[in-house]
C-alpha cells in the first residue's frame, strides 16, 4: 500500500509527521553520551533517505521485522559481553527505530513510529540531562499533536479529513507548553528512589585519588565546568566579591614518594546521613590568612573589609558528576545541607561521599564572609609523623633550601625562612608545558625554575620538611570564573590547583607558592558565548533537573510577594479598564460603539449562526432570513425592537437584556 499519493494528501502528511515523532526521540537519545553515534546515526540517515526518496525507499513489514529481530539478538549478545542493560536497551530501541523508519508506511507503521519515538524520548529522559533535551521534547510535542490529528482524519467516513494549516496549531502549542509547565511546577515530588534519575557520564578527574603522580594534575587549561555556585540570600555583586578568590579544598596528600604523592592513613571522624546537615566546627580560631596567599585573594579580602555585609550567607553549589567522591570545601564553609548521599569527614580534613555520585548534585552551603574566614574548616588534627618524613626528599631541594636560607640572616624563624622560600618561588615562571624529567621531576623543576602548580607546591612542602616543619600538599580548586550573564561562579577544570599546608604555631596554615601569573591563563575561547551557554545550562539544571517542592514554595512565595507589591497597580488597572469607562459613559451621552454595541452584535451574530443565519457585516436584521425555528411574527417583533433601541431609543439594550430577548425568542418556538 503506497502512502504517497500526492505531496499534499493527509497520508503523505502522516508519513512525514510520524517520521518527525520518531526522529525527535532519536535526537533526544543521541544527546546522551552513553549512546554510540553509530546506533543513532543509522536511523537518522534512513530517515533522511526516506524523506528524500519517499516510498521507493521502503522495506516490507516482513523485511523490517528481520531488522527488529536482528536488533533483539544483537542486544542479547551485547548483554552477554557485559554492556550495561540500560545502554543495551537503548541500542535495541535505536535498531527498532531503524526498522520502523524504513518500513512501508501503513497505519500500523505509524503507530510503531509514534510509540518508538515516545520510548526513545523516555529513555533519553533517564540517560541525559542536557539542556538540549528541551528541543526534541518540544519537537516531539508538535509532531505528536500534528500526526495524531492527521491519523485521526485518515480513513474516516466519507474519506480522509483534510489536515488544517499548521499555523492554526501554533496557539494550541503555546497553550500546551504553558499547561505542561504548570503541571511540571504544580505536581509534587516524591523521589522514592533514584534509579530513574537522569544520569550522565561521570567526568574523569586526576589528582583526587589516593596516589597522584606528579604531572597528572592541573596541567591542562581544560574549560570543562566542574562546579557552579550561586548565591541564595545576598546581592549578586556582594556575592561576587565574597566568592571569588576562595580555595576549594579537595584531597590532602601527605606522603611523598619519588614521583608523586600518596595519601596518609586517616581516621574517620564523623559520618552524616543524607538527611543530616553537615556542621563543620571551627578547629582553628585563626582569622588570619596566610601572608603568602596570592595577591588577588588579599585584594578581595581588603574589598570585603570595606563591605557592610552580613557575615554568613548561603550558597547553592551545583556539582557536576565526577568520578571522585570528594566534596570540595570552600574557605569558610560551616554548614552543608541537602546532600543526597551519606558523607564522612576524616582526620585529614577531607569530606567525601560514601560513594562517588553518578549524577549531578545540588548542595547548599553556609559560608562565612571572607573577612572572617579562617584558614581551615573543619576540625583538623595535629600532623602525622609521615607529614614530617624527610626520607624521599630529593637532594636538589635540600641544596636549594640551604642556598636560599643560608644566604640570609641566621636568626630567622622557621616561618620567616618559609616565607623566603615562598617569595623565591613566586619569582619563578609558571609554565604548563615545561619539560619535566619523569625520573626526577622536582630536580628538573628546580633547575629550570619553571613548571606548574603541582611542582611549586611539592617543592615548597618538601622544603618545609627540610626546615622541620610538617607539611603536605592539597589538591583542589582556586578562584573560579565569574559569570556576569547568570551571576554565578564557575569552577572549571583549568582552575584545578595544588597548594601547601604547613603546621605552624600549632595550627595548619595554607601557603600558596604558585606565581600569580598562573591565573591569567584561560582555555575559554569564546567567553561571551560560553557565559551565555553556561547560564543556560545552569538555568536548566537549577529550574528543571533539580526542581524540588521547596522551589515551588519559593516560587509561590515570590509570586505572592510580587502580587502584594503589584496590588495597587492591579487595582489601578482595574479602575482604568472598567470603572472609568463606566463612569464616563454614565456621566456623558457619548456612545461607545466599540464598548457596548459591538458586544451585543457579537452575541446576536452568534445566536443567529446557531440557527443557520450568517449575518454579513453591516447588513440590517430586516434583510436576513428568518432564523430556523423562530416564529415569523416573533422574529419581526424582535427586529423592530432591535432597530428601535439601536437607532432611536437613547437607552440601548444591555447584553443581558439582549440575551433575555433572544431567550424568549428561542422559547417561543413550540
Amino acid at each position: 500500500m503506497s502512502f504517497f499519493p500526492s505531496k499534499t494528501s493527509p497520508s503523505s502528511h502522516a508519513e512525514k509527521l510520524t517520521l518527525g515523532v520518531l526522529m525527535s526521540g532519536v535526537i533526544a537519545l543521541a544527546l546522551s553520551d552513553f549512546v554510540s553515534p553509530l546506533y543513532w546515526s543509522l536511523p537518522a540517515m534512513a530517515a533522511l533517505l526516506r524523506w528524500w526518496r519517499g516510498s521507493s525507499f521502503a522495506l516490507t513489514e516482513m523485511q523490517a521485522s528481520f531488522i527488529g529481530w536482528f536488533g533483539f539478538i544483537w542486544v542479547g549478545l551485547e548483554l552477554l559481553l557485559g554492556r550495561p542493560w540500560v545502554v543495551a536497551f537503548t541500542d535495541f530501541l535505536l535498531i527498532l527505530a531503524l526498522a520502523v523508519t524504513i518500513e512501508t508506511a501503513t497505519p500500523r507503521n505509524h503507530l510503531h513510529r509514534m510509540l518508538t519515538g515516545l520510548f526513545l524520548m523516555l529513555a533519553g529522559a533517564v540517560l541525559t540531562d542536557s539542556v538540549l533535551y528541551a528541543i526534541p521534547l518540544i519537537a516531539l510535542m508538535w509532531f505528536t499533536w500534528r500526526s495524531a490529528i492527521c491519523l485521526y482524519g485518515l480513513q474516516q467516513v466519507g474519506g480522509d479529513l483534510p489536515i488544517h494549516s499548521p499555523r492554526f496549531d501554533v496557539g494550541a502549542m503555546i497553550v500546551m507548553i504553558i499547561m505542561a509547565l504548570g503541571l511540571f511546577i504544580g505536581l509534587p515530588r516524591f523521589d522514592i528512589q533514584t534509579k530513574l534519575q537522569p544520569t550522565q557520564p561521570r567526568m574523569e578527574t586526576t589528582g583526587f585519588s589516593d596516589h597522584v603522580q606528579l604531572g597528572d594534575f592541573a596541567r591542562e587549561l581544560d574549560a570543562t565546568v566542574i562546579l557552579r555556585a550561586e548565591v541564595i540570600d545576598i546581592d549578586a555583586d556582594d556575592f561576587r566579591r565574597q566568592i571569588l578568590g576562595r580555595y576549594w579544598r579537595g584531597v590532602a596528600l601527605s606522603q611523598y614518594i619519588n614521583h608523586g604523592w600518596r595519601q596518609a592513613t586517616y581516621q574517620k571522624i564523623r559520618t552524616w546521613m543524607p538527611s543530616q546537615a553537615i556542621a563543620l566546627s571551627r578547629a582553628t580560631s585563626s582569622s588570619q590568612t596566610s601572608s603568602s596567599q596570592t595577591n588577588s585573594s588579599q585584594t578581595n579580602a581588603a574589598q570585603t573589609n570595606s563591605l557592610q555585609t552580613k557575615h554568613r550567607y548561603e550558597i547553592a553549589v551545583f556539582r557536576e558528576a565526577s568520578d571522585h567522591a570528594y566534596i570540595l570545601l570552600p574557605d569558610g564553609v560551616s554548614l552543608i545541607q541537602h546532600h543526597a548521599n551519606s558523607a564522612q569527614l576524616d582526620s585529614l580534613g577531607q569530606l567525601r561521599f560514601s560513594k562517588a555520585p553518578a549524577r549531578r548534585l545540588r548542595l547548599t552551603m553556609v559560608l562565612d564572609s571572607i573577612s572572617n574566614t579562617p584558614v581551615f574548616y573543619p576540625a583538623l588534627q595535629a600532623p602525622l609523623a609521615i607529614e614530617s618524613d624527610q626520607t624521599n626528599i630529593p637532594n636538589a631541594i635540600r641544596i636549594w633550601v640551604k642556598h636560599i636560607v643560608s644566604s640570609e640572616k641566621s636568626d630567622q624563624t622557621a616561618e620567616q625562612q618559609l616565607q623566603m622560600l615562598t617569595d623565591e618561588l613566586h619569582g619563578w615562571v609558571y609554565d604548563l608545558n615545561a619539560p619535566i624529567d619523569a625520573q626526577q621531576p622536582l630536580t628538573s623543576f628546580i633547575n629550570n625554575k619553571r613548571g606548574h602548580c603541582e611542582l611549586y607546591a611539592s617543592t615548597l612542602a618538601l622544603a618545609a620538611r627540610t626546615l622541620g616543619i610538617p607539611s603536605r600538599i592539597v589538591n583542589g580548586y582556586y578562584g573560579g570564573e565569574w559569570n556576569d550573564t547568570g551571576a554565578f561562579l564557575m569552577l572549571r577544570q583549568q582552575h584545578a590547583h595544588s597548594w601547601v599546608e604547613v603546621w605552624l604555631n600549632h595550627q595548619w596554615q595554607r601557603i600558596d607558592p604558585t606565581p600569580a601569573s598562573r591565573w591569567q591563563l584561560s582555555g575559554v575561547h569564546f567567553p561571551t558565548w560560553d557565559a551565555a551557554w553556561e547560564t543556560l545550562k545552569l538555568t536548566w539544571y537549577r529550574y528543571v533537573l533539580a526542581f524540588q517542592d521547596s522551589d515551588r514554595e519559593a516560587l509561590l512565595q515570590n509570586l505572592f510577594a510580587w502580587l502584594k507589591k503589584a496590588i495597587p497597580w492591579l487595582l489601578m488597572g482595574l479602575i482604568l479598564f472598567f470603572i472609568t469607562p463606566y463612569v464616563y459613559r454614565k456621566t456623558t451621552f457619548f456612545s461607545w460603539p466599540w464598548w457596548s454595541h459591538n458586544i451585543q452584535q457579537k452575541v446576536l451574530d452568534r445566536w443567529l449562526e446557531k440557527r443557520g443565519v450568517y449575518r454579513p457585516l453591516s447588513r440590517p436584521l430586516r434583510l436576513l432570513p428568518i432564523p430556523y425555528g423562530v416564529p415569523s411574527q416573533a422574529w419581526i417583533n424582535l427586529v423592530k425592537a432591535w432597530e428601535n433601541q439601536a437607532y432611536s431609543d437613547p437607552k440601548r439594550w444591555t447584553r443581558r437584556q439582549l440575551k433575555t430577548h433572544l431567550r424568549a425568542l428561542s422559547d417561543a418556538r413550540w
Binding site: L122, L154, Q155, I192, F547, P616, G629
Partner: protein, 360 residues
C-alpha cells in the same frame, strides 16, 4: 481513524478489556460526558505508567514528558469541547418527513462553521428517536479572515457536510428536543458527548398505499394528464403527484423538478375531501390501521398544493381537520398522519369520501 491499537495485533483479551473500558462514560459537567477510544485507553494507561515512574523516581525530565503528554490530552479534550459547542443546530437539516422503510440519504453542506479550526466527525443523535446523523466537519484549509464578511473569493470554503442515511421501520412522530453530539476529534483519544437542546420534528410516514379511487380533483387530474396540454410549469413542492413532474426539464435534484400546470384545472376549481375514521375495531389489526394511514398518505400526495386558483383539498383525520391546499395545512396533515393513533370517536362531520375500518 488510522491508528487503532488493534493494528498492533494486541491479544484479543486486551482488546476485550479495552472495549469494556471504552463503554464507560464519565460525567464531567452538566450536559457533558467523557469516554475513551481504544487509542485513548492506551494513551491513558501510558500516562499512568509514565507518571508512576516520574513520581517514583523524582526524575524531572520524566515529569516534563508526562506533563507534555498530559497537556496534549487536555488540549485534545478542550478542542473537542470547543468543536461541539460551536456546531450549529442540526435540526434544521432534517427532512420534513421520511417514509417508513424507505432510506433517505442526507448529504447536506454545512456553511455555518467557517470558524472551525478542527476537523472531525460528529455523531448526532436525539434521545427521543432512533435517529443518527454524522457531521463531517472540515477545518478551513486557507482562511484569510472571514470569507463572507470580507468577500474574499480566494478563500476556499470549508467542506463541512452532514451525512446520514435516515431510515425507520416504524411510523412515528417525535418532537425532538434533546440532541446528543458525540465526537472523538481532534485526536481520536476521548469520546466526548454533549447534550443540548435542538428542536426538530421527526416524522416517519407509512408507506403510501395506492388503490384509493376518490371522486374529486385527483381523479380528474388523472384524466387530464392523458390528453390535455399543460399551461405552464411551477416548482415542485412535497406532495405533488410524481406523474405531473416534467421529467425532461428536471434533473435528479428535487430542487429542479418542475410541475406541469393545466389550464383546465385552473379554470375549474375542484374540491377534494377525505374523511378518515381513526377508530380501530376490536377485530382489526394494527397493520390494517397502518394500511388505512398509507391510503390517506397516498391521497394526500396526490393533492396539489395550490393557493391561487381555488383548488381545495380537505382532510379530516379523526377529530382534526386540515386544509391541504395550503402548505401549512399540508405540513400539519403530514405530521398528523405520522402521529396518528387509534381513536374512540367517529371522525368529525364533513363532506367527502369516508375512509374507515369500521363496518357501517
Amino acid at each position: 481513524m488510522a491508528y487503532n491499537p488493534s493494528d498492533l495485533r494486541l491479544p484479543p483479551w486486551i482488546l476485550y478489556l479495552l472495549d469494556a473500558l471504552i463503554a464507560v462514560r464519565v460525567p464531567i459537567g452538566r450536559y457533558w460526558h467523557i469516554g475513551m477510544t481504544r487509542a485513548g485507553a492506551l494513551m491513558f494507561f501510558s500516562l499512568l505508567g509514565l507518571w508512576a515512574a516520574a513520581f517514583y523516581s523524582g526524575n524531572n525530565l520524566l515529569y516534563l514528558c508526562g506533563a507534555m503528554l498530559t497537556a496534549i490530552a487536555m488540549m485534545a479534550l478542550w478542542q473537542g469541547v470547543q468543536l461541539l459547542r460551536g456546531l450549529p443546530l442540526f435540526g434544521a437539516y432534517l427532512p420534513d418527513f421520511v417514509e417508513q422503510c424507505r432510506p433517505v440519504v442526507l448529504r447536506q453542506d454545512i456553511s455555518d462553521i467557517a470558524r472551525s479550526t478542527v476537523s472531525g466527525l460528529v455523531d448526532i443523535t436525539w434521545s427521543e428517536a432512533d435517529l443518527q446523523l454524522s457531521a463531517r466537519i472540515c477545518a478551513a484549509t486557507r482562511v484569510q479572515g472571514d470569507p463572507r464578511r470580507h468577500g474574499d473569493s480566494n478563500v476556499q470554503p470549508n467542506q463541512s457536510r452532514l451525512i446520514a442515511q435516515l431510515q425507520s421501520s416504524k411510523r412515528c412522530y417525535h418532537k425532538l428536543t434533546k440532541q446528543r453530539l458525540t465526537t472523538s476529534a481532534p485526536l481520536g483519544l476521548w469520546e466526548l458527548t454533549y447534550q443540548r437542546q435542538d428542536l426538530a420534528i421527526w416524522a416517519v410516514l407509512p408507506q403510501a398505499v395506492a388503490g384509493l379511487r376518490v371522486q374529486g380533483l385527483g381523479q380528474n387530474l388523472q384524466h387530464r394528464i392523458e390528453g390535455d396540454e399543460y399551461h405552464d410549469l411551477r416548482m415542485y413542492t412535497p406532495g405533488d403527484p410524481l406523474a405531473r413532474i416534467h421529467w425532461r426539464k428536471s434533473t435528479l435534484d428535487p430542487s429542479t423538478w418542475r410541475i406541469k400546470r393545466f389550464s383546465q384545472a385552473e379554470e375549474q376549481p375542484q374540491k377534494a375531501h377525505l374523511r378518515v375514521d381513526l377508530r380501530l375495531p376490536s377485530g382489526a389489526t394494527q397493520a390494517a390501521f397502518e394500511n388505512l394511514l398509507g391510503l390517506t398518505w397516498h391521497w394526500l400526495q396526490s393533492q396539489p398544493e395550490s393557493t391561487s386558483r381555488g383548488h381545495q383539498s380537505q382532510l379530516i383525520l379523526g377529530q382534526q381537520c386540515f386544509d391541504c391546499s395550503q402548505s401549512d395545512g399540508r405540513k400539519a396533515a403530514i405530521h398528523a398522519i405520522a402521529a396518528a393513533l387509534p381513536e374512540h370517536h367517529a371522525p368529525k362531520h364533513g363532506a367527502g369520501f369516508l375512509l374507515s375500518l369500521v363496518e357501517p
